[in-house]
């Protein structure tokens, strides 16, 4: 039986232009409104100029859409230096005729006014630049600076309205940036003239970690994510992290893969985990979570697949040493490029960085299997809602890629409180709980499968033995040892 989920677009939306900015096209369900103006609002240092610049640079370099960058605030040298810090080479784009730039310097001190005027000079400059490179994209950075340069707000409002109409008539997809105001969105109400799309950037410090957020506050005629999305500015560009799914079509696999433990495979009707599913292994300290996880990783490598092992607590050498003691040679798989270990210090990174780093590794290495060990250490990183969103997003991305993800989860007191339990339950297609045996004199361990979506599984408690030879699982108690429909 093959279950397919197909989600058709419910509304016929406006044509869009891909931004090429990682994650932004997902959040906007396909990019910015084509041939229209998008207003990008943010405070100082919020990253609006960089985001607008990347929109231009990606368009010019990768999407065949040359661009114009008109700035009121920064010279080309400054803009190019800032863009270089996120890996964008504006000078090269300009040299290749894919980018035209203009710095409209405004100094009020030297300008007096007598009688009426318009911003005709600005239109002429934009027109020249657009024609010079055959621009399909235009960025006007710091448009509100105009209000500091000219004394008549009424004239400026009229002219801005005319400017946005003119850009639309030109058929260019444009992004206009403006400073965030304390009251309202922008100080001069520029959002009133831009009716198609408004995006707000925010930069704040939460529990001593600086976080950047992006929110689409308005997008006419299009569905879009309304949440605040964390974003990251790194040396290879901006990454917006679409923490909730927009309903991506997803193929549910019926193919199964071994858990790496024959005794565990036997407890599952499918003979293993479904490919592309998510597995959570919960247990107190020393119950064998990491061993189960490593067996799973080892099995993937044996099949010739690639595995990304993300350790949130231990250093790579510690992970390899500990698993060597149960007979697993992860270093050998690493040497054969079947395994990649990412050590992500849970507490010193913000959640955005975790997500971005894992995303990046997944894209680079293209693993079929990912292990996250242990996800419980992420709980300390930030707001529980954020962590939940982060994990949900990770699992979503993995599923979309048909990557099987196994998470270990350290339960402090042997059980999970309701909130975390609910979180894990919704995340996990298969949920396995491990615990130490209270009665055994040789510190035995037990395993129980709490759930396995889409397949029958053995119920009840099983004995778990870990050793250099491998992991053994035997029936214990009253549950069935063989898979049965619950």
């Amino acid at each position: 039986m093959i279950a397919r989920t197909q989600i058709r677009s419910r509304t016929r939306s406006l044509p869009k232009s891909l931004t090429g900015v990682r994650g932004l096209d997902e959040v906007t369900a396909g990019g910015l409104p084509k041939g229209r103006t998008t207003l990008l609002v943010g405070g100082a240092g919020s990253g609006k100029t960089l985001l607008a610049t990347e929109f231009l640079a990606r368009g010019a370099a990768e999407l065949g859409e040359p661009g114009v960058l008109l700035s009121f605030d920064e010279s080309f040298a400054e803009l190019a230096a800032n863009a270089a810090s996120i890996g964008l080479d504006l000078r090269a784009l300009r040299a290749r005729g894919l980018l035209a730039t203009d710095f409209a310097e405004i100094e009020r001190s030297e300008a007096g006014e007598s009688g009426s005027y318009d911003l005709g000079g600005l239109f002429i400059r934009l027109d020249q630049a657009i024609n010079a490179v055959g621009a399909k994209r235009v960025v006007i950075d710091g448009v509100d600076t105009l209000f500091a340069g000219f004394a008549s707000p009424a004239t400026l409002r009229t002219e801005l309205r005319r400017l946005f109409r003119w850009l639309k008539a030109k058929g260019v997809t444009s992004v206009v940036t403006a400073e965030r105001a304390t009251n309202g969105l922008t100080r001069h109400g520029i959002e009133e003239y831009v009716s198609d799309c408004v995006i707000v950037l925010d930069h704040r410090v939460v529990s001593q970690t600086a976080t950047r957020r992006l929110r689409v506050v308005k997008y006419r005629g299009s569905r879009h994510g309304t949440n605040e999305y964390p974003f990251l500015i790194s040396d290879d560009g901006i990454s917006v992290l679409p923490i909730t799914s927009l309903g991506l079509p997803r193929h549910a696999s019926t193919q199964h893969i071994s858990t790496g433990v024959p005794g565990l495979d036997a407890l599952l009707e499918a003979g293993g985990f479904y490919r592309g599913s998510s597995i959570v292994v919960t247990g107190t300290a020393g119950t064998g979570k990491s061993t189960i996880a490593a067996r799973f990783a080892d099995a993937a490598c044996r099949r010739g697949e690639r595995c990304l092992y993300v350790g949130f607590e231990e250093a790579e050498s510690e992970i390899i040493r500990n698993l060597h003691s149960v007979g697993l040679r992860l270093d050998a798989w690493k040497a054969r490029r079947k395994l990649r270990i990412l050590t992500a210090p849970a507490t010193s990174w913000g959640i955005e960085r975790h997500l971005a780093e894992i995303d990046r590794q997944v894209q680079e290495f293209e693993p079929q299997v990912v292990v996250l060990d242990p996800i419980s250490s992420l709980v300390s990183v930030g707001d529980p809602a954020d962590v939940r969103a982060l994990l949900a997003r990770l699992v979503d991305v993995m599923k979309h890629r048909q990557t099987t993800v196994l998470c270990t989860d350290l339960a402090p007191g042997g059980t999970r409180d309701d909130a975390t339990g609910l979180l894990l339950s919704s995340l996990a297609d298969v949920w396995i709980v491990l615990r130490n045996t209270p009665f055994s004199h040789d510190r035995g361990r037990e395993l129980c499968i709490l759930k396995a979506r889409g397949m029958a599984h053995a119920t009840g408690v099983h004995e778990l033995r870990l050793g250099r030879r491998g992991v053994e699982i035997r029936k214990r108690g009253n549950g069935s040892a063989r898979p049965a429909r619950a």
Binding site: E110, E113, S116, R125
Partner: protein, 93 residues
């Protein structure tokens, strides 16, 4: 001698008004002391960027230095004289 440069956009009413106002102002207040140059940005669009022109019309006092700029159709003579720091002929103000 003042060297003044006026940036206009073709024959637009505002551009024509600015030129007429400027000529009148020079005749009235600065007779024989003005040299006016007109730059039509529709004919020379690249000059807008090169000379940092945003508004039209824009009047620039080229010399004596420093450069002074003023925007508008120049209908208010007082503001033009003050804005560009032009010294009118004594008694003419």
């Amino acid at each position: 001698m003042y060297r003044l440069r006026l940036y206009v956009a073709g024959q637009s009413p505002r551009s024509l008004a600015a030129l007429e106002n400027l000529r009148r102002l020079c005749d009235t207040h600065l007779p024989g002391r003005c040299r006016i140059e007109v730059v039509d940005l529709l004919e020379h669009p690249d000059r807008a960027r090169r000379d940092q022109i945003i508004a039209i019309p824009t009047l620039v006092r080229q010399s004596p230095p420093p450069l002074r700029r003023l925007v508008g159709d120049l209908s208010d003579f007082e503001r033009v004289l003050a804005g560009l720091e032009l010294q009118p002929v004594r008694g003419e103000r």
